[in-house]
């Protein structure tokens, strides 16, 4: 299914980060853990309450529920925090200059962490029993439970994994671009979805490459065109790409069953 509330999980991660920094002044690692665990719990709760009863329902009902959960989270946050909030910095930024390029410690940490998380996720999805079960469920929802796979538990684990990563991403975003608001997750969520589609749905490598490609394109487009054309260019490139490779970079056609 498509979790349209994913961008809002990301937003909640950023807000948890803001809360623990302003109230407890925790160090970096603890903030990261708090954001990840908080959003994981939220993800599991949302899955239990809102998505699980709809496992057998038509696919669109689940999508609408996800949209509903997303709007709910946005406006709940908005009710508590009607203004954009500034996140105080928690690490002393060190800058290195190599040639003409300046890199900050925060950027290094962000890139390093994202690579580590991707490797862990890739390992879980490709090499562990749980990961095999996940891929099996996405392949065929009817047969796999008959093979003794506990669907509910696997889906919960999938949600926990996905939302913990969203939490980590939200935290890193909040530190790099320290103004956060309740609607920040919408566009990020859609862009994550676009990156996943460009890479090929159900493929960790694809999602990673899709994400890098999208990010790089956004920056490059601004370098050559007025920045107001950024979205226009990105989305037209996306359309052209989908016409030529409708299943993404790594997507495989599953074939039609009759």
């Amino acid at each position: 299914m498509i979790n349209f509330a994913h961008g809002d999980f990301f937003m909640i991660g950023a807000f948890i980060c803001l809360l623990v920094i302003t109230f407890f002044h925790w160090p970096f690692v603890l903030v990261l853990l708090a954001a990840m665990i908080g959003v994981t719990l939220l993800g599991i709760a949302v899955e239990r309450i809102a998505y699980r009863p709809l496992r057998q329902a038509p696919r669109v009902s689940a999508i609408i529920t996800a949209l509903g959960v997303g709007i709910f989270l946005e406006n709940l946050t908005l009710a508590f925090s009607p203004y954009p909030q500034a996140v105080p910095p928690i690490i002393n930024n060190i800058y290195w200059t190599i040639g003409e390029v300046t890199i900050s410690l925060l950027q290094v940490i962000t890139i390093f962490l994202s690579v580590v998380f991707m490797l862990i996720l890739y390992f879980i999805v490709q090499r562990t029993k749980v990961g095999i079960a996940m891929r099996a469920i996405s392949w065929d929802k009817t047969i796999v439970p008959l093979m003794g796979v506990p669907v509910d538990r696997i889906v919960t684990i999938t949600f926990a994994l996905g939302s913990s990563l969203a939490g980590a991403a939200g935290m890193m975003y909040a530190l790099s671009y320290p103004v956060i608001d309740p609607y920040m997750g919408i566009m990020v969520g859609w862009k994550a979805f676009i990156a996943a589609v460009v890479g090929g749905i159900g493929d960790v490598r694809g999602a990673m490459i899709g994400g890098y490609l999208l990010g790089a394109l956004e920056i490059l487009v601004v370098a050559f065109f007025p920045s107001t054309y950024r979205d226009f260019m990105i989305f037209s490139l996306l359309l052209v790409f989908l016409i030529f490779r409708p299943l993404g970079i790594f997507g495989k056609s599953k074939g039609q069953k009759l």
Binding site: A79, I194, I201, L239, L242, P246
Partner: protein, 293 residues
């Protein structure tokens, strides 16, 4: 006459009914997942406004207004044609992305055209939309979409939803049917956009973003997919609920999605879901239409 506030709400309900019906054609009857409906609405709104404000400001209103609305619809339909072409090959999540991309392109494109105000928005329309016009267009929409669904092409649309491959094997020209469904759907979304612009007298590209699309999706699924009556009820209920909960201020948009989630959990097909009002079913169909599916 009726209280202007009630009249305004009734007009919003009418416009939302047109939007919900047109989206239901693609999402409910054809079973695709289009999230770009706000894009068609934006095109309709802008083209209709440009017609009345810039091109024919001096002509009699009674002539230009329907002309502008139809022109807005046609412009949207033309874009619907463009969106329909990728739908030949892509479906499901990928088609959702195509429609999303299309919508973002429309929004971003409008923001960059300075002649129509760019991101500042476009204004200068007279308040030409009134209740009779809205009712007129609602009736036209219901009539056209109902007749389309119960025509041979409509059977093709349903065949695509149930099983595209089998439909094609049974001789349905799926490409033609998809193009028709997208074009009709886009046309009415454009009409709704034109009416909306001449009711609000001000439009800007941010009005037609993903949130607007989400609203329309919610109305369709709230009412129930694959049901004209469902879209009518869904649009009306959603609009009225938004008004009834207005005193709750910011908590309004916390409560409404919560109600939506609850509705989906306890009645996942929406209010009407694949059932239909008797008066919306053509006479010859009444005997053999299954009550529940």
């Amino acid at each position: 006459m009726i209280n202007p506030y009630i009249e305004l709400i009734l007009m919003y309900i009418g416009i939302n009914i047109i939007l919900a019906l047109s989206l239901n054609l693609v999402n409910g009857y054809m079973g695709e997942f289009s999230v770009g409906h706000a894009g068609f609405m934006a095109i309709g709104a802008y083209v209709a406004s440009v017609m009345t404000v810039l091109i024919f400001p001096a002509w009699p209103v009674l002539l230009t207004f329907p002309l502008a609305i139809v022109a807005g619809g046609l412009a949207a339909a033309l874009l619907g044609l463009i969106v329909a072409i990728p739908s030949f090959k892509t479906r499901g999540d990928y088609l959702a992305i195509v429609t999303l991309a299309f919508m973002m392109m429309v929004k971003s494109g409008l923001e960059n055209i300075d002649a129509i105000g760019g991101a500042r928005g476009f204004l200068g329309m007279d308040r030409l939309t009134n209740l009779p016009w809205v009712i007129f267009w609602v009736v036209i929409t219901i009539w056209v979409i109902r007749n389309f669904i119960y025509s041979n092409y409509g059977r093709g649309v349903l065949a695509i939803r149930e099983d595209e491959t089998v439909g094609e094997l049974m001789g349905v020209n799926t490409r033609q049917v998809k193009v028709l469904a997208f074009v009709i759907s886009a046309f009415f979304a454009g009409v709704a956009g034109g009416l909306f612009a001449h009711l609000l007298q001000y439009i800007n590209p941010t009005m037609f973003d993903i949130l607007k699309s989400t609203d329309i999706l919610v109305m369709v699924y709230l009412g129930g997919v694959g049901s004209l009556g469902g879209s009518i009820i869904g649009a009306a209920l959603f609009t009225i609920l938004l008004e009834v909960f207005r005193p709750l201020q910011v908590w309004r948009m916390v409560l409404i999605p919560l109600l939506l989630v609850l509705l989906m959990i306890f009645r996942s097909r929406g209010i009407m879901g694949f059932t239909e009002f008797r008066w919306l079913i053509p006479k010859r169909e009444k005997n053999d239409t299954p009550k529940n599916k």
